[in-house]
């Protein structure tokens, strides 16, 4: 089930909200958990029991860790917990990739391939396994006490607003909210506005752009002209942003409707003046996770040599790339970003500072280039596409042929860069971070209802629209 679907918007969500608020306050977590299990079981029925079992095991392992006074035992239990979580992730997400490469090598040395049953990827595994690791680590580091009730722990992992595609909520950020949150009507409304805004970003912008982008990226790159190639990849860059940030908005919005405050996940990433800044604005919770649980344990910036620092950076981004998908193109994607991060540490940041705001354009270009490897799985196809981009064989483009697509491209471009202006920043603050007066509430409510109705109409017309990040 996806948020941007009729079954979610018109059936699951209203029934959930009704059940949630009719439930006595003390029991609301159970209602939320029940609906979350149903939500997950809808999409991955064969995996849900397996998931529940691993959650229970993990809960008691961490509880045992917390009870231990000896550091060795604490590390031992932490190791088991991380092993369970990473083990699940490695097995379900990367085993196929591993076997494909083993068989490739075997083929190279003229050995028969190993027979292997293809493993299905459970949706959301990359997110909830990371979330589980934050719990283990934050308890180990004594940042926060563990949860006493296993159902509350289940809820932390499986809460449907953010389970499938984030934001990755660190345990310490939400621990107190699980047991002590307060639902307020004004927050419910703010959540509703945020949900509708996210839904509009996904359905009215991302999904419209996706239709044309998919057509372009399914064409033959060898005969593609540069105009089409650039439209395709820039379109994909906007599509990905509005799709993913729209989803995050919806998750944050639903959370607020039931009293949760999830962390922000995007901060106008395309106005970044460097790749380093980009990663402070794009999928923020993921960057925070990788920084706190991988980069810092490796030594972070406090290593003895610059060589080690650059290695750390590059290694973290290699793994970041791999996290996005189990294939070599994602490794290249990560390495590409890591390369520029290292370059920025070396000298490129100074160059960006010198050229001022134009660095936004160069940074955006680097991001767009990286998207080629993010989107196109086969290496030779990606190279062929790059060839089309840089053939400089520009053909004229008729915007009248597809006005809906081009209108949404302009809308996407506008909202991607509008915070470069003061008015844009003020607008953003208004929609995301303001406490509203009565008139503003009425206006926003009407706007949200209009967006919701348009989205429902569009979903019925366009059809099912899966999230891109569901492959994770």
């Amino acid at each position: 089930m996806v948020f941007s679907s009729i079954i979610f918007i018109l059936y699951f969500l209203p029934l959930f909200l009704l059940a949630y608020y009719l439930t006595p306050k003390k029991a609301r977590n159970y209602t939320l958990l029940a609906f979350s299990v149903l939500f997950y079981a809808w999409g991955a029925p064969w995996f849900v029991l397996f998931l529940l079992s691993s959650i229970i095991i993990n809960f008691y392992v961490i509880r045992a860790m917390d009870s231990s006074r000896q550091v060795l035992w604490r590390k031992f239990f932490l190791g088991i917990s991380v092993a369970i979580n990473l083990g699940l992730l490695l097995y379900f997400k990367y085993a196929n990739f591993f076997m494909e490469n083993v068989n490739y090598v075997r083929g190279w040395v003229h050995l028969d391939p190993l027979v292997w049953n293809y493993i299905l990827l459970p949706i959301g595994i990359s997110f909830f396994s990371f979330q589980s690791i934050t719990y283990s680590m934050d308890v180990f580091r004594k940042i926060h006490k563990p949860l006493r009730n296993p159902f509350n722990y289940m809820l932390y992992i499986m809460m449907f607003p953010q389970m499938i595609a984030g934001p990755i909520v660190r345990y310490k950020d939400i621990a107190d909210q699980i047991t002590g949150r307060k639902e307020r009507w004004e927050e419910f409304l703010n959540g509703f506005y945020r949900f509708c805004l996210g839904l509009a970003k996904k359905v009215l912008i991302a999904d419209v752009i996706a239709v044309e982008v998919d057509k372009i990226l399914a064409s033959n790159y060898a005969t593609m002209d540069s105009s089409t190639a650039w439209i395709g990849i820039v379109g994909y860059t906007f599509q990905l942003y509005f799709d993913f940030s729209g989803y995050s908005d919806m998750a944050i919005g639903i959370g607020r409707m039931i009293g949760f405050k999830f962390p922000e996940n995007f901060d106008n990433p395309y106005v970044a003046r460097s790749v380093s800044e980009f990663w402070r604005r794009w999928h923020i919770t993921f960057s925070v996770f990788m920084r706190n649980y991988l980069y810092y344990p490796l030594g972070g910036s406090r290593v003895k040599t610059k060589r080690r620092l650059y290695f750390n950076l590059w290694f973290v981004f290699l793994l970041s790339g791999l996290w996005h998908g189990a294939s070599w193109n994602f490794v290249i994607y990560g390495a590409f970003h890591g390369f520029f991060l290292v370059l920025e540490r070396l000298f490129l940041l100074k160059v960006w500072e010198k050229i001022g705001k134009i660095s936004i354009l160069f940074t955006f270009l680097i991001i767009v280039m990286a998207r080629v490897f993010f989107r196109i799985e086969e290496y030779d196809q990606a190279v062929s596409f790059l060839g089309a981009l840089y053939s400089f064989d520009f053909q004229s483009v008729s915007m009248a042929a597809n006005p809906h697509f081009y209108t949404m491209m302009f809308v996407g471009a506008f909202f991607s860069f509008f915070t470069l202006s003061k008015i844009g920043l003020k607008l953003q603050d208004f929609f995301y971070f303001t406490t509203y007066n009565n008139k503003q509430h009425v206006g926003l409510w009407i706007m949200s209802v209009v967006l919701l109705v348009l989205c429902v109409a569009s979903l019925t017309g366009l059809g099912f629209s899966p999230f891109i990040y569901f492959r994770f």
Binding site: M1, S5, I6, I7, I9, L10, Y11, L13, P14, L17, L18, W42, G43, P45, W46, W185, E186, F188, L189, F192, S398, A401, P403, H404, T407, N437, N438, H441, V442, W445, V449, L452, V453, L454, V456, A457, S458, T460, G461, L462, G463, F464
Partner: protein, 450 residues
């Protein structure tokens, strides 16, 4: 305290808003007008644990909810209207918005440019069989006519949108005409006649908002067909005279069928069309032959609006695409009996359906007349109960359905989107749909025959 009251009010309104479609679906307090057009609908799937585990139940159930939630029809009309009014786009891939508000079905445009040309050898073979059927029927005292109905893209090429224009190449229409003339098949070319008459007729022969020739255009065509048959057969038949016309912009459904497919909230601007007033002239001793028509949908405007029934012809049997339905329903569905009863066998095809012309009928009739037998009379053929089974078998139906989808860009795209939606490959979805349709059709036939 005032702000809390407002918050609560808005929260309640939000809850009501979200619950309203479900309320409408269950209790249907509001009357909502239906959508136009034919679609395959998802029945409410029965729940089975195994189907849930295999993720088979979920997409079917979701599809069912998507097709049945309250106010769905209004949502679709809103979406279509926004796309049309703001962007000038059709949300229905079976409708192309032409210039100046003229609507087309895209395959008319493709066939006009020759993009679906099936090849001269194929067409020549088909026409040779037609000629053979014509001669065989003539031997039994029956006549055969091939009618090429007019195509809207031929009539209104100036309104074809720029993005669909290309160089014209040799078309099915031109190839059929060349071969029909070459082999001497009785032919009426309404397409060229319509194009020639375009500048002289007082009212359009094609509606702006419809895909078929207008009701008026169809009446003129029918009139010409009857006159042609009279000269061919020498029969003295009753007559139909057009005594006047009513011009109106309140068009009958058949003259705005594509517009209806758009499912808009606001009706389109329409041209006025003419609806003829007809006078039936009875002649003493008039003959009323029996008519057997194998045609695409272009015969409907004649079948429904021209006085062929009882006045001109005694019995009219219309086999829609040969095997998709027989009209009127009370007429028999046995090919041998229909052939033996009929005096005139008429094939009709619009220029856009010539790529599939015959729909199995030409091969069926040809094989009926050319089995290895020696000078057998039609009556004797019938007595020997030759099983020329016009009805496709279950497997033939599936093969034909699949071929139709594969050979149509729009149908292939629809099937691919459907497959993607439900997590199947294209071939898997095609196979499932083919079997689903075949099961319904052949089970229904079995139920009806009990």
């Amino acid at each position: 305290m005032k702000s809390n009251k407002l918050h609560i009010t808005l929260v309640v309104l939000t809850a009501l808003l979200l619950i309203l479609p479900l309320f409408q679906q269950i209790f249907k307090p509001f009357k909502i007008s239906e959508l136009h057009g034919v679609t395959k609908e998802q029945e409410l799937p029965k729940f089975a644990a195994a189907d849930w585990i295999d993720s088979e139940f979920q997409p079917r159930f979701h599809q069912y909810l998507l097709e049945n939630y309250g106010f769905r029809e209004d949502a679709i009309r809103l979406y279509n209207q926004v796309r049309f009014s703001v962007f000038g786009l059709s949300s229905n891939i079976n409708v192309t918005i032409g210039k100046n508000g003229f609507l087309f079905e895209p395959w008319f445009i493709h066939s006009y440019y020759g993009r679906n040309f099936r090849g001269n050898d194929d067409i020549e073979e088909k026409v040779k069989k037609l000629k053979s059927i014509q001669d065989s029927l003539k031997a039994y005292g029956k006549d055969m006519i091939m009618v090429i109905a007019a195509g809207k893209a031929s009539y209104y090429p100036e309104h074809i949108p720029d993005k669909m224009r290309s160089e014209k190449s040799y078309t099915n229409y031109q190839c059929f005409l060349d071969n029909l003339e070459k082999y001497g098949v009785n032919t009426i070319d309404c397409n060229q006649w319509f194009v020639d008459a375009k500048d002289t007729t007082k009212v359009p022969l094609f509606p702006k908002t419809g895909t078929h020739w207008s009701i008026y255009g169809a009446q003129l065509a029918a009139d010409s067909i009857v006159k042609y048959y009279k000269s061919l057969s020498g029969k003295e038949m009753n007559e139909v005279k057009f005594s006047g016309f009513t011009k109106t912009d309140q068009l009958k459904y058949d003259d705005r069928d594509i517009e209806m497919l758009l499912n808009l909230s606001i009706p389109l601007d329409r041209d006025s069309l003419a609806y003829p007033e007809k006078e039936k002239i009875k002649k003493d001793g008039a003959e009323k032959p029996n008519l057997f028509v194998i045609s695409d949908s272009f015969f409907w405007n004649i079948f429904n609006f021209y006085p062929i029934h009882k006045h001109l012809f005694n019995e009219v049997s219309y086999w829609y695409y040969f095997s998709r339905g027989v009209y009127p329903a009370k007429t028999e569905t046995d090919l041998q009996t229909r052939l033996s009863k009929s005096d005139l066998i008429m094939f009709m095809s619009a220029t856009s359906t010539l790529d599939k012309f015959g729909w199995g009928s030409v091969d069926s009739l040809y094989s009926f007349f050319h089995k290895e037998e020696h000078n057998v009379s039609l009556e004797e053929k019938l007595k020997e109960h030759h099983e020329v089974h016009y009805e496709e078998t279950y497997e033939e139906f599936i093969a034909r359905f699949k071929e139709q989808v594969r050979s149509s860009e729009s149908k292939t795209q629809q099937m691919m989107e459907k497959a993607k939606k439900r997590g199947y490959t294209f071939e898997e979805m095609l196979d499932k749909d083919a079997h689903w349709l075949a099961d319904r059709r052949y089970k229904k036939d079995k139920d009806q025959s009990r």
